[in-house]
């Protein structure tokens, strides 16, 4: 059911190295980030499509690629999927001027575009059925119910667990639809708190909690 990126709770990873490092360890890391943001500004895809492109990498590629290599691979795949670049152009490294070039992000608009952001709240006719304090259970299995193997933001480790709604965030674009060009389908978004013992069977300490931001259609009353 799950994809390789859905790794919350996984065993076998080693220790974390918190040693300080520069913002960009290599020049090409900076370039890869900037290229991805600038290409995104053309408006040919949304944040959910670009996340889905990265998590659609094969498990072998996802595991061997460093962080910015995943971004680059996702970007190349998206450019081809949206018809912005052809496979021949990708292979040859050159291509003719695109009709989309009027959408190019110029240097003098960078500050404005980054500061404007891209809020995911939208008006919606889906009314909230839960409120803080309510008990809910997450859907099981964690899957996209509209697209087989499709994008979802319900992590596998939180599937089928009971928790308590602690925050309501208004209505947000639903990634399960937006990642596939099926519209934004905004619906209520909540933060749900789960007891760590319920999630893992045994917690490091009784009473610890894991919280996640979950859309209404991921939840049912408990």
């Amino acid at each position: 059911m799950s994809r390789v990126h859905d790794m919350g709770g996984r065993f076998g990873d080693g220790p974390i190295d918190p040693a300080p490092e520069p913002v960009f360890k290599q020049d090409w890391h900076a370039r890869a980030l900037a290229l991805t943001l600038a290409a995104g500004a053309m408006g040919k895809w949304n944040i959910d499509t670009s996340r889905h492109a990265r998590v659609c990498l094969s498990p072998a590629d996802y595991a061997r690629f460093s962080y910015y290599e995943k971004w680059l691979a996702g970007l190349a795949d998206l450019l081809v999927a949206t018809g912005v670049v052809t496979e021949d152009e990708l292979q040859s490294g050159s291509g003719a001027v695109s009709a989309l070039s009027e959408k190019k992000l110029p240097a003098d608009r960078v500050a404005e575009v980054l500061a404007r952001g891209g809020p995911s709240t939208r008006p919606s006719n889906v009314a909230p059925v839960f409120k803080p304090g309510d008990w809910v259970r997450t859907r099981k299995p964690a899957r996209n119910i509209c697209v087989d193997g499709g994008h979802t933001r319900l992590p596998a480790y939180l599937a089928g667990v009971e928790g308590k709604v602690v925050l309501y965030h208004g209505t947000h674009v639903l990634p399960d639809m937006a990642a596939h060009g099926l519209g934004e389908s905004p619906e209520p978004l909540y933060t749900v708190a789960f007891d760590a013992t319920e999630v893992w069977g045994a917690a490091e300490r009784d009473g610890d909690e894991v919280l996640a931001d979950l859309w209404q259609s991921y939840l049912e009353p408990a």
Partner: protein, 205 residues
């Protein structure tokens, strides 16, 4: 949209990552889709302008100004907009405060969601498989690797950023900082403490 296949277009790019970026940048520049000067501008923004110093200002002000603190815990967006701290990856902020009995920690198990306008680009460890996999299951062991040991009585809340909400942790204000100015206090607020993987620095430490 990309889908599952064994011949992803990305495999057509050069195998060396630095050359791969160069090839894509050159192609998109030739096609008139990218302005290389815009890339320089984006890099300069996150290398020099937007970083944890922004979050530290917010925390220091929350430590010293009770009305501001209460407004930020209620809904930080109006004040963040006022302070010029709104932007990409910080559109829907929630601020959580560490207390005597609760320690908050932030992760994104599914990718690496992070509050860019307040903390900048996430550090390598935040994006690592090890942090993403382990923070939700064994936060105390992870904290120990950062040199942080919590009292047994303190409850840990790990916030997994699965949507577009972004979290900032307010670390506890160190003792012995009563007379310090907001600027001096901001100097004690580390990036890791605002992710919940560290504590604020002790004065003079």
């Amino acid at each position: 949209m990309p889908h599952d296949s064994h011949d992803h277009p990305h495999s057509l790019l050069p195998s060396d990552p630095a050359l791969r970026v160069k090839a894509l940048e050159t192609l998109l520049t030739d096609k008139g889709l990218i302005d290389p000067a815009a890339l320089d501008e984006i890099i300069d923004t996150y290398e020099n302008k937007v970083g944890p110093q922004n979050g530290a200002r917010v925390v220091a002000r929350m430590w010293t100004d009770p009305a501001f603190r209460s407004a930020m815990l209620d809904d930080p967006m109006p004040k963040l907009i006022e302070m010029g701290l709104y932007g990409r990856q910080g559109e829907h902020m929630v601020i959580v405060e560490n207390t005597e009995d609760t320690h908050n920690m932030v992760v994104c198990t599914l990718c690496s969601c992070y509050p860019w306008p307040l903390l900048g680009i996430p550090p390598g460890w935040y994006k690592s498989d090890a942090y993403r996999a382990r923070a939700v299951r064994e936060p105390r062991k992870v904290l120990a690797e950062f040199g942080v040991t919590l009292d047994e009585g303190v409850k840990v809340r790990v916030w997994d950023s699965t949507a577009e909400v972004r979290y900032l942790v307010v670390p506890r204000r160190p003792v012995g900082t009563e007379g310090m100015s907001e600027d001096e206090l901001a100097g004690l607020v580390t990036r890791d403490s605002m992710i919940g993987c560290g504590l604020a620095r002790e004065p003079g430490a």
